[in-house]
């Protein structure tokens, strides 16, 4: 590292911290998908189709989650309907 690079580096954020931030977001997202059963994605699409028969909603407006507690699983479906 020369003296010139030293001053140049001060101006922009270090690329390693950008890398870490991007990875943290990506890995968290991929892990949450991994913990779901394989059918969740397909089920989400099918539920979305049923809803779309009646109301026009985007895929982003449907949030589906499966929570496993001690002796039961809760399927949580959150649909934001347009006004």
């Amino acid at each position: 590292m020369s003296i010139f690079n030293y001053f140049l580096n001060k101006r922009q954020p270090a690329s390693a911290s950008v890398a870490k931030e991007r990875l943290q977001i990506l890995v968290a997202h991929e892990r949450s998908r991994r913990s779901q059963p394989d059918y969740m994605e397909k089920m989400q699409l099918e539920i979305l189709e049923v809803i779309r028969k009646y109301v026009e909603v985007d895929q982003e407006q449907v949030n589906i989650r499966l929570d496993n507690s001690d002796d039961c699983s809760i399927l949580e479906l959150n649909v934001t309907l347009p006004d």
Partner: protein, 268 residues
């Protein structure tokens, strides 16, 4: 009963074969009967890294298909008597590795060896899945680089769901081996640090192998780099093997060796 170690990564070119060769050598040189198996069917390379490419007669797939006995296929290392290599086949048939076939070979090896090191191919296809399925211990080789870290996390997910231990509800021992590490670039914020990668992957650190010219030199010569105890990477692999065997020793080569002021100034 042998302990089965998989050396895996998801991403290619991060140093799986280099690490398998050195870790296998390190275990064997401590007196443990060790065999390293190349699972990269179609792209055999462990033989080259171990320097025994001209002694390959039969391979892993020949043994699975009972075209050769294990003793015919195993290659004894010329340097360390307790070390053997089971080379991969050069067949293009990716279906050649069957779970029953692999299990059969591992069961046979288990009777005579203390450690079985499975050198996984890149990717998450059959070869990689077979290499990790039977493992008791996983060594996840990662470079301090975004795509490698992401793929390592993916492989950890597969270890935790698709391995035999996971299916039986048992814990698979996971270790992070960070390779091609450059403390100088970390110091100026150009490379993910050990701590960054540990934070993201959240598994215990087995070792940090610094980027070193010795690795290429060793592969050129067909001598696992752990034999080069003058080199930082050779020493770091030896430390990693000691940690794998339960020793608690500090990590070396993680911080920068300070260049003198003048060299830093002119960028030498």
């Amino acid at each position: 009963m042998a302990k089965i170690i998989v050396v895996t990564s998801g991403k290619g070119g991060v140093g799986k074969t280099t690490s398998s060769a050195s870790i296998g050598t390190g275990l064997a040189s401590r007196g443990f009967k060790t065999v390293i198996i190349d699972f990269d069917v179609g792209l055999r390379n462990l033989d080259l890294i171990m320097g025994c490419e001209r002694r390959v007669v039969y391979d892993f797939v020949n043994v699975i298909n009972t075209e050769a006995s294990l003793n015919q296929a195993l290659i004894r290392d010329k340097r360390i008597p307790t070390l053997s290599i089971l080379p991969a086949s050069q067949t293009r048939d990716k279906e050649a590795l069957t779970r029953e076939g692999v299990q059969n070979v591992l069961d046979q090896l288990s009777k005579t060896f203390d450690y079985i090191v499975c050198d996984s191919p890149a990717g998450i296809e059959r070869g990689a899945q077979m290499a990790l399925y039977f493992a008791d211990i996983a060594i996840v080789v990662t470079n301090p680089e975004v795509s490698s870290v992401r793929d390592s996390d993916r492989i950890l997910g597969i270890l935790q769901s698709k391995s035999r231990r996971a299916e039986k509800g048992e814990i698979i021992e996971e270790h992070l081996l960070l390779t091609r590490y450059n403390p100088q670039r970390v110091a100026i914020g150009e490379m993910l640090s050990v701590e960054d990668v540990k934070d993201i992957l959240a598994i215990p650190l087995l070792g940090v192998i610094p980027e070193s010219e010795a690795v290429l030199k060793a592969s050129n010569q067909g001598t696992p780099v752990i034999h080069d105890q003058e080199s930082t990477s050779g020493m770091a692999y030896d430390d990693a093997v000691r940690r794998l065997l339960g020793e608690d020793i500090p990590h070396r080569f993680v911080d920068i060796t300070r260049k003198n002021f003048f060299k830093r100034l002119i960028g030498a």
